[in-house]
Amino acid sequence: MFSQLASPPKFHALASWFWVWLLLAGVLFLGLGLYTGLFLAPVDVQQGEVYRAIYVHVPAAWMSMFLYLVACGYAMLNWIYRSDVSAVMMRALLPTGAWMTALALLTGALWGKPTWGAYWVWDARMTSELLLLFIYLGLIALGQLATDPSKADRVLAISLLIGAVNIPLIYLSVVFWNTLHQGYSVSMSGSRIHPEIATGMWLSVLGFWLICASTVLNRARRLLVQRRWQ
């Protein structure tokens, strides 16, 4: 099954079919999540209405880290198998990851002003997330530098894996340092968010995940055509 996915024609056919359906499902779930979160969820006792920014801020922040980890998985596959599919997937994930990181930073800044009184503070969580954006931008630029695609893939794969050190740093920044950013609300042991508030958030997370998967597959199949065509 997995070896079949490494075949460029099969991957292209599957991605060409899946990306449209993933997009439609993503729009549906995001719409449901936003409707539930913005119109049905109760008001937060401490923050009032402004807490509703979680319905876009949290999915974007999670996607920024998740997409990086998935790109690292493809970087390892590319390092071992040198397949075209792993190379284009690794490259296709980076722009979406960068967009999600920028979105998490922007929505966080907008949320920070009414709650903390400032758009930006050099807090450990925010600074490490900003560093992630720079890593994404650096990797995108790096992928376009070398003229030999296979050499560029190898350099990109190593750089991606080195940059992965920032992901646990972002995740654990609220534990290691005394941050203005709040601590975990959702962890492996469970969620501390009220179910009426959490429902919309999980729907939005699923919507973001599906839309990002659709965009990445669409980009990957196009990059694959370019790679085979050149």
Binding site: M100, P114, C212, R222, W229
Partner: protein
């Protein structure tokens, strides 16, 4: 500039939709340019025709 709570929430939602749309549009433009692809294939066909004619 200060926004009230609902203005902040709607601004975040609008930004998210804009970013998702921009990313999708950017992804849809990735890969080879269709005009260049068509030109290249035309060039290839022409070269094949010329080489056939010279062989004859």
């Amino acid at each position: 500039m200060n926004f009230d709570a609902w203005e902040t929430v709607w601004l975040c939602v609008a930004l998210s939709v804009l970013v998702l749309l921009l990313d999708a549009w950017h992804a849809h433009r990735a890969g080879p340019d269709k005009i260049e692809q068509a030109r290249s294939s035309q060039r290839g066909n022409r070269m094949a025709r010329v080489s056939k004619e010279t062989e004859q």
